[in-house]
């Protein structure tokens, strides 16, 4: 069964197309990764799913019902973890969760039980009476999650829930996501941390310029790049480097320079390493190391878009 179906979804801001005719299905029990660079349109898509934004065109169906026909039903079944921490700093952790859960119709003893459950789940059970003002970034992020799950939504949408936090909190959150999934929640997980997505997501869509440019399991996505070869060359004096001259070498698909790392992907069947090295020597570039990369999501992204995920 599909928890979410998106059909031909488009969002324009004026003339700018942020989401471009996107179609997508998320099945029950999935942790669906939404991968894309800054400004790719991830948040915009998520905001339309959670009816924060109106779509310019297209349809969104939650658990078989179109949100256009029954927005209350959609809202009841979705929990949203916003990209920016969305809590009241002057209310205790307990009051925050309880207030938001109350908006979903929970009352009395039931509300109390679910609030405590959510706080315990994110490891803030002993901080119920504390004000988030005094929380660390990681604790705030966890409270941000607790506020989204107390009403036990079927679909939880997390928009970069791990931005800017310590590794410990990050692991905690990633484990919580897995556990929520085991408890039966379907999750949409947005990030530009490749490793996270690779670790927890069962299926991944790569978004670029408002479009899904690839979709599948990690294995399926990596298979896209098996016919390409990725070589990373650490160089010194990269300022003199003429990237265009490398680009024109036979078989080269994309080239980019990050700090001292020259990242080149080429067609798999062509052996052009000699030509590349010759060019670098000719340009008087000092070569410090050469490394062939096994395909990962980063190289997939790089191959598909010619850009790094994080610019």
């Amino acid at each position: 069964m599909n928890v979410l179906e998106i059909r031909n979804l488009t969002k324009k801001f004026g003339d700018f197309i942020a989401v471009d005719n996107m179609s997508l299905n998320v099945r029950e029990g999935e942790i669906f990764g939404f991968l894309g660079a800054n400004g790719a349109g991830k948040s915009t898509t998520i905001n339309m799913i959670s009816s924060l934004l109106r779509s310019t065109k297209g349809e969104i169906v939650i658990l078989g019902r179109s949100i256009a026909s029954d927005v209350q039903f959609a809202k009841m079944n979705i929990g949203i973890v916003p990209q920016d921490i969305a809590i009241y700093e002057d209310m205790t952790a307990y009051e925050n969760v309880s207030f938001f859960a109350g908006l979903y119709g929970l009352r009395g003893a039931h509300l109390k039980e679910r609030t405590e459950e959510a706080l315990n789940f994110v490891g803030l059970g002993d901080k119920q009476k504390s004000l988030p003002k005094n929380f660390s970034g990681g604790m705030k992020r966890r409270l941000n999650i607790a506020c989204a799950i107390a009403h036990r939504p079927k679909l939880i949408i997390m928009d970069e829930p791990t931005v800017g936090i310590d590794p410990q909190s990050r692991n905690y959150i990633l484990n919580s996501v897995k556990q929520l999934n085991r408890m039966g929640c379907t999750i949409i997980y947005t990030s530009h941390y490749m490793e996270e997505v690779e670790e927890i997501c069962t299926r991944i869509a790569i978004v670029d310029h408002g479009k899904i440019i690839a979709e599948g399991t990690k294995e399926q996505l990596k298979a896209i790049v098996t016919d390409t070869k990725n070589v990373w060359i650490e160089v010194r004096g990269g300022d003199h480097l003429n990237i265009n001259s490398v680009k024109h070498i036979q078989g080269v698909l994309s080239v980019r320079l990050d700090d001292h790392m020259l990242k080149i992907s080429s067609k798999g069947e062509i052996n052009n390493l000699n030509l590349i090295l010759q060019q670098l020597i000719q340009d008087r570039i000092e070569i410090r190391s050469i490394e062939e990369q096994a395909p990962n999501l980063e190289t997939v992204f790089l191959t598909l878009t010619g850009r790094n995920l994080r610019d």
């Binding site: 924060l52 934004l53 009841m76 916003p82 969305a86 009051e95 207030f99 938001f100 109350g102 908006l103």
Partner: protein, 376 residues
């Protein structure tokens, strides 16, 4: 239930914001104390009427008017006002301009002309008030004369003898009861702080946006109307609560006079808070970006200034005088002074009507814009 929860949260949050509470409570109370004591002598001695010198000429040729004027001027004389007929060779306006007289009155067949001194504006205002009272009374008599001459006699006779002091009384609020400085500033600071509710109004939804909690509110299965009502009610209640505290504090600590009509006093203040919150909210929606706060701040400052928050205002027909009428504070102050000191509720009801009407307009604007917008 949602409305209740949202309102309650709003109130809780405000109560925990010590800076706001301090501002809404300590600020007016301290100002009350400072202004009330520093400016007390402005209030203690009202302009004595014996400074008033009135020059007149009577060219009306109407015995009735002349007779009435005589009895009027005798009475005024007893009250300590100098009234003199113009001597031949004198030019009335020149005399006033040179400061010999407070005002010059010309009685003519078709009416009365008054030239007041701009140097002695308070005195000439009093003179004007007296003459208006005189003219009203005379017109009444003249109207009566046409139908029943004997009644007219009675009205005129009465005017001179029995209620002679009334001419002066009508110009000041009430001879026995008028606000002292702490009384005045208790009212003025309270209405001012009620107007400051506009600031929290302007921040009501923008605050949710900057905290990003707007996202959760919009994603929750509640109607926008519930959210709107809850927040407006919460904000109004908490601001009204602080107004209430200021009133009680000034009454019991400063012994300020709040009269005996508490119902109407709180109705004026309550509707003023509603007006302020709606105004702030409306500006918050109408003005883009970060400027609503500035707009509301400037508005409340100007309204306070011209509305009599820092010193009592006189409306004298000048630009500033007209401006004062645009200040909600001026309405509220007039209404409260009327209700407290002269038991006169007419200004209060007018103010309540104005407050509610304007508030409704701003709420409507906000609702329309909110419904159109995607985000809060």
């Amino acid at each position: 239930m949602n409305v209740y929860n949202i309102a309650l949260r709003e109130i809780k949050s405000s109560l925990r914001e010590p800076r706001t509470m301090l501002f809404m409570l300590a600020f007016p109370i301290v100002l009350m104390l400072i202004l009330g004591t520093a400016l007390s002598n402005v209030f203690s001695n009202f302009t004595p009427v014996d400074n008033i010198r009135l020059l007149y000429s009577n060219e009306s040729g109407q015995p009735q008017l002349t007779q009435y004027w005589e009895s009027f001027s005798q009475e005024m004389g007893r009250q300590g006002i100098d009234i003199a007929p113009i001597a031949s060779g004198q030019v009335g306006r020149e005399q006033v301009r040179e400061g010999q007289y407070t005002a010059y009155v010309e009685l003519k067949a078709d009416g009365m002309q008054l030239y007041g001194s701009s140097k002695q504006s308070i005195e000439s205002n009093i003179a004007q008030g007296m003459l208006t009272a005189f003219a009203d009374r005379y017109n009444l008599a003249a109207a009566a004369f046409r139908s029943d001459p004997s009644k007219a006699e009675a009205i005129l006779a009465n005017a001179g003898a029995v209620t002679g002091g009334e001419f002066i009384r009508e110009t000041s609020l009430n001879p026995n009861k008028s606000p002292g400085s702490i009384d005045y500033y208790a009212i003025a600071m309270t209405t001012m702080i009620a107007l400051y509710a506009a600031i929290s109004g302007s921040y009501l939804f923008r605050g949710e946006r900057t905290r990003h909690t707007a996202i959760r509110l919009m994603a929750a299965p509640i109607a926008k109307g519930e959210l709107f009502a809850g927040k407006v009610i919460g904000c109004t209640l908490i601001n009204f609560l602080s107004v209430l505290v200021v009133v009680l504090f000034s009454k019991f600590v400063f012994q300020a006079d709040w009269g005996s009509h508490y119902g109407i006093v709180f109705l004026v203040l309550g509707t003023e808070v509603v007006l302020a919150v709606s105004l702030g909210l409306g500006v918050g929606y109408l003005v883009q970006g970060e400027s609503p706060r500035a707009v509301v701040m400037i508005f409340t400052q100007i309204a306070s200034f011209v509305g009599g928050a820092y010193f009592p205002v006189e409306s004298d027909g000048s630009f500033m005088g007209v401006l004062t009428y645009l200040s909600p504070l001026r309405w509220a102050n007039t209404a409260l002074i009327g209700a407290i000191y002269t038991d006169d509720m007419s200004a209060a009801w007018q103010t309540i009507g104005l407050n509610v009407g304007i508030a409704a307009a701003f709420l409507l604007i906000s609702i329309v814009i909110m419904r159109k917008r995607e985000v809060l």
